[in-house]
Symmetry: C2
Subunit: 166 residues, 2 copies
């Protein structure tokens, strides 16, 4: 099964931007990588008029789209899936899965914290699952700290610690 | 595992429209129903600027979105999935799965054929997996024929033949 690492941080701290930098660094090293984005309040993926939208609107509880090069699924749920359920069912063929969010699940976490961001306190100060910080501040914290642009070093750290046996 | 029925017909024969009528009829009877749309040449579900699109563009080979009420997945593939693989992995909790397309897979098929449609010949004339026709023409064919608006009767037929033990 893939290694799972969560990228956490308060809202607007730059999680998606960090992922955008980190993903190509990991791909470049030859690993298969997937992502899970956590939405606390739902998401809107489908678009009016498309066949998938027409299926959904007519009452399909799970719409799958399948082509020779790709697959997609939009499914209603009564209960939220855990990271492990998603990984086992849909991402088991990856080497590494990066989640955006999921601060409450117990996966190893990288927190992003910017000094000009909208929040004053870091999220994972006393969280034992914190494995690294990405920040533009000086911090006294017992995990490695990487600068906002230190993407190569962060990928090195993840590769060395989690991916060498993949 | 759910019953799988394929809605087939040449392009622009009205497959999506038939599904839009049939889905609420099946839901109304209390069954859980999912759909699979077959795209011979790929599909475009994701939209520029969304976080899922940003993950994908940055190199994520499988992007999952998860919320308390729903789940979505967009995944690159090297080889097309079969209907059975999709059903087993993603739709096993449904009572019935209707596919739009998949004329070459061996699932029971309902063909839609309209006399003012863009094609002259029916698709499944000698196909042993054909279980019904939906058409506005008179036809001499050894399976039940339903009119374009006979959705209740078609749902009755499917329920009686395939869903009674669900």
């Amino acid at each position: 099964m893939p290694v799972v690492i969560s990228i956490v941080g308060k809202s607007d701290s730059g999680k998606t931007t960090l992922l955008e930098k980190l993903l190509p660094e990991i791909r470049k090293r030859g690993y298969r990588v997937g992502t899970i984005k956590h939405h606390a309040h739902g998401f809107d993926l489908d678009h009016e008029g498309k066949d998938s939208w027409r299926h959904k609107r007519a009452g399909s509880q799970a719409v799958a789209l399948s082509s020779p090069a790709g697959f997609a699924l939009i499914k209603d749920l009564e209960q939220e899936l855990t990271i492990d359920e998603i990984v086992e069912n849909c991402l088991a063929d990856m080497d590494i899965v990066l989640t955006e969010g999921y601060k409450k699940e117990g996966k190893p976490k990288i927190e992003i914290f910017r000094k000009d961001g909208p929040h004053k306190d870091i999220l994972c100060k006393d969280d034992k699952t914190l494995i690294a910080m990405v920040t533009d501040m000086e911090m006294r914290i017992p995990v490695p700290c990487f600068g906002l642009e230190d993407t190569v070093q962060l990928a090195d750290f993840l590769e060395k610690r989690y991916l060498r046996d993949k």
